[in-house]
């Protein structure tokens, strides 16, 4: 049933190439994870610090596989009526009103209450059928004819009950709706779950998934990412700014800058027409990288030193 993706991605290299074509530069591990997920039809649980491209991975995967992306953002209090399906109550009420006369008519010839009840039960399911079902993301993902990429974002924010509820979908790609029965996926979706690790997920959940941890990228990979995202940045500046960020990650900070911040910073520097990293520019734009007052002061104090080192590594002669 998954021959579609099997044909499209025979090897890990093709996954890698596909992600690159969608503007996502994966590490070898990421490509392997996606490859295995497609092969084994298992969901991937992606963990890692904020801003390293967890959500982006799902988007890129959807783009290169040519599938629609269905995204479900988790939050506390999320329940099945918001995640799976809901009855269209309004429509149901409206239809009963409209059909009132019709109903009266068909019941007119019944002799007593018993007969009416028998007649009623013959078309009772009219109002609880697919026509009145409002599919929410999970059900929608199962109903896609050509399959889809289902992104369940920040699963750690949802309650434990909801996590348990997801298990059926994750292992069998089906859900049970009491009024209708079990709905199975037409084509099993490619499922990605992301977590920021605010709480430990249950073992049952982890067991069903491939576990991918995305950390901060190394210098080379990050340069490639910047190159693909902000093509306007010159090679020298790119090397310097990435080197600066890499060093910054070595300092004891409360929130380390991640890839998304590096991208923002690169964009900021480009808009400022910087050709090299200057201490002054760095100090002016540090707030793009760091989000806490305390971190700012720490980094500000060492900005000059780090900048010079970054310039040296970037191949600029500093005296």
């Amino acid at each position: 049933m998954n021959d579609l993706s099997a044909v499209k991605i025979p090897t890990i290299e093709s996954v890698e190439a596909g992600l690159v074509s969608a503007g996502y530069i994966p590490s070898r591990q990421i490509a392997t994870a996606l490859f295995l997920s497609l092969r084994l039809q298992k969901p991937i649980l992606v963990e890692g610090p904020a801003g390293v491209g967890k959500t982006e991975l799902a988007k890129a995967a959807a783009q290169f596989l040519g599938l629609p992306l269905i995204r479900m953002q988790c939050y506390e209090g999320l329940d099945e009526s918001k995640a799976l399906y809901e009855w269209k109550y309004g429509k149901q009420l409206l239809y009963t009103q409209i059909l009132k006369d019709k109903l009266g008519e068909s019941f007119r010839d019944t002799e007593n209450l018993q007969a009416a009840l028998v007649k009623l039960s013959s078309f009772s399911d009219v109002f609880f059928s697919h026509d009145f079902l409002e599919p929410r993301p999970l059900l929608r993902a199962l109903q896609q004819r050509q399959g889809c990429v289902l992104l369940i974002d920040e699963i750690d924010k949802a309650d434990e009950e909801f996590e348990a509820f997801l298990l059926e979908i994750l292992s069998d790609y089906q859900v049970t709706i009491p009024e209708i029965g079990t709905v199975s996926a037409i084509v099993p979706p490619v499922v990605l779950l992301t977590s920021n690790n605010t709480r430990d997920l249950g073992d049952a959940m982890k067991r069903r998934c491939l576990h991918l941890h995305i950390g901060y990228p190394d210098q080379k990979l990050e340069e490639r990412i910047i190159d693909s995202r902000i093509p306007g940045v010159s090679a020298e500046l790119r090397r310097q700014l990435v080197s600066f960020v890499q060093q910054l990650r070595g300092i004891d900070l409360r929130k380390l800058p991640s890839v998304s911040e590096t991208i923002d910073w690169a964009r900021a520097l480009m808009l400022m027409h910087a050709s090299d990293l200057e201490v002054q520019t760095v100090q002016d734009t540090l707030n793009v990288l760091l989000k806490f007052e305390g971190d700012m002061t720490t980094a500000m104090r060492r900005a000059a030193e780090l900048t010079h080192k970054a310039r040296r590594e970037g191949g600029v002669d500093t005296r």
């Binding site: 591990q29 392997t32 994870a33 295995l36 506390e76 073992d203 982890k206």
Partner: protein, 463 residues
């Protein structure tokens, strides 16, 4: 092929990666789709399938490296280690290379198969024979270092040591100088082989025995009396305590709610039933928040509990690491607040600092409670839980029961954890029995297992 993977799984389990049966099945599917040929790819893929936390990934990858490196390391330094001569490819399992059974003893007359390999310096053959022997004697069952010699000897036996020894004897007996020389060569090679086999078995022990040893050790640590513990157990204890604190915190650290069944939340019910024309088909009950506990931990670090103080501090440190609303205090004669030290510094230096500041003096509970009265009593409210860790031995100073009563009245719960056994409470200078009426709960906490139970209880009941 299956054995290679199965043993790897077992080794990984032993090293602390939790792998369920279902995950092993996944591992086989994974291997079926990526194959054995690319080592890095295999490692990445199995790591994705099997290890489910970052710590587990590190453990697994180390284990993987050790497991697959063992054959290439088998050659002693100085000899040419033929890179990858024992690639564990699906078909090339050890055993078919040159087991002791299949050597033909033609050619040089008396030469045993093993002797020939030794003289020919046939690394691949020797390693294969060693693997085959190891397989036969089941070396992967090794669990304790005392078994090393036994396994090494058995492997050598399987490799045909007896035959080799007979050959050496026979060569010596001929009296022919050429034969004697040959015998000496063989003897040297035999000793070399013995050393290498031992080293091989030791590596197996590192791979497969780790789990058993760890279980035994940690099991013992969990139930050992805190006062009996040694300094060198401290690191292991640290890991244990941290795990425990993390477990507790992840379970109780989040905001929790509880439905109050039967009490209608009108506002939310109306909102929920808008689509029914506000006819309440679906009822929403009022919920109450289960507050995260506010904890004040007071830790005795005086001379009388010197043995335990480090562990008590360790525990408080771990709690500080994982819970947000916690203030901690330490005292012997005077009390100081240590929340900040614990939050800022690493474990070792912070414990050192605290012990330097107030540790190991003679105890004065009365004075310390006075200090607490001054520093933090007005911060106590009915949501606060106070945990006191100490032996209540106040050197016959005035115990200031009145302050204890104030604490008792103002806080939600007072829990006293005493490392001493219950029988010795109230003996000598112990004021435990006098403090007891002003505690909601008093327990002995001699072991880590105790500590965990008490704290989990505390958090579960926190409302």
């Amino acid at each position: 092929m299956n054995d290679v993977l199965l043993r790897l799984l077992r080794a990984a389990r032993g090293n602390g990666v939790r792998i369920s049966v279902a995950e092993s099945i996944d591992a086989f599917h994974t291997v079926a789709s990526v194959g054995y040929s690319d080592r890095q790819l295999l490692k990445d893929s199995l790591s994705l399938t099997l290890a489910k936390t970052v710590e587990e990934k590190i453990l697994f990858e180390d284990c993987f490296d050790l497991y697959f490196k063992r054959e290439t390391m088998a050659a002693p330094v100085g000899q040419t280690a033929r890179d990858g001569f024992m690639e564990p490819d699906p078909s090339g399992m050890p055993g078919q290379g040159g087991g002791p059974g299949e050597g033909q003893s033609g050619g040089g007359g008396t030469g045993s198969a093993l002797g020939k390999m030794l003289l020919a310096n046939d690394e691949a053959g020797l390693a294969a024979a060693m693997e085959a022997g190891a397989e036969e004697v089941g070396v992967s069952n090794i669990s304790l270092f005392t078994q090393t010699n036994m396994y090494a000897r058995r492997i050598l036996d399987r490799m045909g040591l007896a035959e080799l020894e007979r050959e050496i004897e026979a060569l010596r007996a001929t009296g022919n100088p050429a034969d004697a020389e040959r015998a000496a060569l063989l003897e040297a090679a035999r000793q070399d082989l013995a050393t290498r086999t031992r080293a091989f078995v030791e590596r197996q022990l590192a791979l497969f025995g780790a789990g058993t040893r760890k279980e035994i050790r940690e099991g013992a640590l969990r139930t050992a009396q805190l006062s009996q513990l040694d300094r060198r157990d401290f690191d292991r204890m640290h890991a244990l305590v941290r795990d425990m604190a993390k477990r507790i915190a992840s379970k109780y650290g989040r905001q929790r709610h509880r439905d109050r069944k039967g009490v209608l939340d009108t506002r939310r019910t109306l909102r929920r039933n808008m689509s029914f024309d506000s006819i309440p088909f679906r009822t929403v009950w009022k919920r109450e928040k289960i507050d995260k506990p506010k904890v004040m931990a007071i830790c005795d670090v005086s001379g009388s509990v010197a043995q335990v103080a480090r562990f008590l501090l360790l525990f408080i440190y771990a709690l500080t690491d994982t819970m947000r609303d916690i203030r901690s205090f330490a005292f012997s004669g005077d009390m100081i607040e240590v929340s900040e030290i614990l939050e800022r510094e690493d474990i070792e230096p912070s414990i050192m600092k605290i012990l330097e500041a107030v540790g190991f003096r003679s105890t004065n509970y009365g004075k310390s409670l006075e200090d607490f009265d001054r520093i933090a009593l007005n911060k106590l409210d009915r949501k606060t839980t106070v945990i006191i860790l100490g032996d209540a031995r106040g050197n016959r100073n005035e115990p200031r029961i009145d302050i204890m009563e104030k604490i008792f009245n103002r806080s939600s719960r007072v829990i006293w954890l005493n490392p001493e056994h219950r029988a010795s409470w109230g003996t000598g200078d112990s004021d435990m029995l006098r403090y007891m009426p002003f505690c909601h709960q008093v327990s002995t906490c001699g072991t880590i297992a105790h500590l965990e139970r008490v704290v989990a209880d505390l958090l579960r009941e926190a409302v």
